[in-house]
């Protein structure tokens, strides 16, 4: 058996062709269109846009198709495109209180101004496989409330704020002062807006696990889901040459505000604290995880003991990006034979020396250092 030494150009080209054909699958089955992905795989599209940091449903759908449904690969494709786009400036802060709410729930009050709106959610479905979905067929149109009109849905945490029961949300950075993590290298300690930006594009699974760990006692924060809202928010851009704000369009957002453990002290009355999460598209799992991790990362700021992984800013921020993580883990597939050769030579030498030392005539058993002594 001869082992091929080095790969080459031909092999790469052929592999790419094979990949394209595998992506297509059985040609007797109709090809999936990017429109279908965009319309019917909306939550996958949302995740790719959120972690790809680019609100572009068409491109996200294309990326999912090209990546054969591998969402991290699709996120990577979108990021690699995003990075080449010019940066015109930054939008005005999104007013999520004015969002067109399609879903909005609060776990801290039974009823809230604007009401609890269940909206499209898996929450109360029974997870039974539905054989009818195996065939095509349109679902019945959803019932519509009589004369439903856009309604006011103020933030639930605002109600607590009015009584001073919760800390004030800090004012965001002024226009032009927000740090763009895709244009500035991370440094520690990082401020909260930088952390939130990093978490917003962080891996859903990683943040989920971290958030879960805080619930299980690794840096507990006593959270209540103050409010989770999903809907269309309008995006504005201040055009300096025009001198007024220009609407750019609507984006779907999921926002989560957690109400956490109160604190107080000699100078300060007890009150609740906040954790915040906000992501593109409908992704409540991600927004909630983000809010829990955000709050955990504020441990030092709030004078709490901080030893758990989710409270460790450097640990969380350095490892939450799945494009970085997957690249580095998978780079182990690249050849390492030069380094391995060096290690091989070293291990062979160490084994030789070990053998020689054992076989050498021992003058006296007591002069031979024990393992423990040698290590000192």
């Amino acid at each position: 058996m001869y082992v091929a030494v080095k790969g080459g150009e031909k092999a790469i080209d052929n592999a790419h062709q094979l990949l394209a054909s595998e992506r297509r699958g059985n040609p007797a089955v109709p090809e999936i269109s990017t429109d279908q992905i965009r319309e019917q795989m909306t939550l996958a599209v949302a995740r790719v846009m959120a972690e790809g940091s680019l609100y572009a449903p068409d491109l996200a759908a294309l990326a999912i198709k090209q990546a054969r449904g591998d969402l991290i690969e699709a996120i990577f494709l979108l990021r690699a495109f995003r990075t080449t786009l010019p940066r015109f400036g930054e939008s005005m802060p999104v007013n999520t209180a004015a969002m067109q709410v399609r879903r909005r729930v609060s776990a801290v009050f039974k009823d809230i101004p604007g009401g609890q709106v269940l909206g499209p959610t898996f929450d109360y479905t029974h997870r039974l496989l539905d054989p009818r979905l195996g065939q095509s067929g349109d679902p019945a149109p959803p019932p519509r409330a009589e004369g439903a009109a856009p309604f006011e849905a103020p933030h639930v945490l605002g109600l607590l704020d009015r009584e001073g029961l919760i800390e004030r949300a800090p004012a965001g950075p002024d226009a032009g002062e927000a740090q763009d993590i895709t244009r500035t290298p991370l440094s520690f300690p990082a401020d909260r807006q930088t952390r939130l930006q990093t978490l917003a594009r962080g891996d859903e699974g990683f943040l989920l696990a971290l958030a879960y760990s805080t619930q299980r006692g690794y840096g507990r924060t006593h959270p209540f889901a103050g409010e989770i809202r999903v809907g269309e928010a309008e995006l504005y851009f201040m055009a300096p040459e025009l001198g007024f704000e220009v609407p750019l369009g609507e984006i779907v957002l999921t926002e989560c505000e957690m109400v956490n453990q109160f604190q107080g002290g000699a100078d300060e009355a007890p009150r609740f604290t906040r954790g915040y999460g906000c992501v593109f598209g409908q992704s409540e799992r991600k927004a909630m995880s983000m809010a829990l991790v955000d709050r955990s990362l504020r441990a030092a700021e709030l004078g709490e003991s901080a030893g758990a992984p989710a409270q460790d800013e450097e640990f969380v921020m350095s490892h939450c990006d799945n494009v970085q993580a997957t690249g580095f883990v998978e780079h182990l597939k690249l050849p390492h034979y030069v380094d391995f050769q060096a290690e091989l030579a070293l291990v062979r030498q160490l084994r030789r020396e070990w053998r020689d030392a054992r076989e050498a005539p021992v003058e006296s058993t007591t002069t031979r250092p024990s393992k423990g002594e040698a290590a000192q």
């Binding site: 491109l59 690699a80 990075t83 080449t84 290298p185 380094d339 050769q341 060096a342």
Partner: protein, 284 residues
């Protein structure tokens, strides 16, 4: 869906290139110091040379001649892929010849042929921090560099000696640059370390995922860490290259069959081919 996106010369936009060049200049001015830079997402994965690719993209001009190697070889898959990337996005001339190249991007090796003035060697770096495996925190390692507090590294090397009788680091062997910063030479085998010292070429190091650039300017001292009574030793091979007969190069071990037959060949394919040519000419 709009038009197919178009890309700038060498992929990166000019603003990004300027940002990277500023970091490179800073790195050259402080040899061995890791300069943070706003690393971009690249169309290849992190850990596959995004730092080196960004450095190359930032310094590449239309007259440059580019060589890309991985494990010393021009024909390894990732080297082929990166070379093709620059052929496609910049259209510059590429080569496999070390003397002919003006920029050489490398992973894990320094070419065997001596480099000359005017050449730039661009290293792909996975973990730029030489202290990382001794101290996982960036805040802490930056402080250690600032205070030139390298005791922990010497303790590690000393522990090697007490355990194994010699320093048991065969690649990514730490060096001290210009008498100041301890630097990771990227995971090149320590066999290559002496080539970094007083090198006429400019050596640039790019770590994309970790967002760091560092540099060794031409003719700068690069000393492998050691002790007076345990001096640095270059790896020596007992074998010769089966293809060109070289006795002083880094050799790859090639397993020939499943009965354990082995052959040793130069890891630097260009050097090996040149040397084979020389041997034929002198033999004729």
């Amino acid at each position: 869906m709009s038009d197919f996106p178009s890309y700038n010369f060498a992929y990166l936009d000019e603003q990004t290139k300027r940002m990277i060049r500023r970091s490179i200049l800073k790195a050259i001015a402080t040899p061995g110091y890791q300069v943070p830079f706003a690393s971009r997402e690249m169309p290849m994965p992190y850990g596959w040379g995004t730092g080196g690719v960004q450095v190359t993209a930032a310094i590449l001009g239309r007259d440059d001649v580019l060589k890309v190697i991985d494990q010393g070889a021009d024909d390894t898959t990732n080297a082929v892929s990166i070379r093709k990337f620059f052929e496609k996005t910049s259209g510059v001339r590429t080569t496999t010849s070390t003397p002919e190249a003006s920029i050489i991007q490398t992973r894990h090796r320094i070419p065997e042929a001596p480099l000359r003035e005017g050449q730039v060697l661009v290293y792909q770096v996975p973990i730029p921090e030489p202290l990382r495996f001794l101290e996982p925190r960036e805040t802490e390692t930056r402080r250690m560099h600032a205070l030139e507090d390298y005791g922990v590294m010497h303790v590690k090397l000393y522990e090697d000696i007490s355990r194994h009788g010699h320093i048991a680091t065969s690649y990514a062997y730490p060096v001290k640059v210009a008498g100041r910063y301890v630097m990771d030479p990227s995971p090149t085998p320590k066999f290559d370390n002496p080539k970094m010292n007083d090198c006429p070429a400019l050596q640039l190091f790019g770590a994309g995922r970790e967002k760091r650039i560092y540099a060794v300017p031409p003719y700068t001292s690069v000393i492998s860490l050691d002790f007076e009574d345990h001096p640095f030793e270059r790896t020596k091979f007992d074998n010769v290259c089966a293809l060109c007969g070289s006795t002083n190069t880094f050799l790859d071990e090639v397993v020939m069959n499943d009965e354990g037959a082995r052959m040793y060949v130069c890891s630097d394919t260009d050097y090996c081919e040149q040397h084979r040519g020389d041997r034929k000419e002198t033999g004729a």
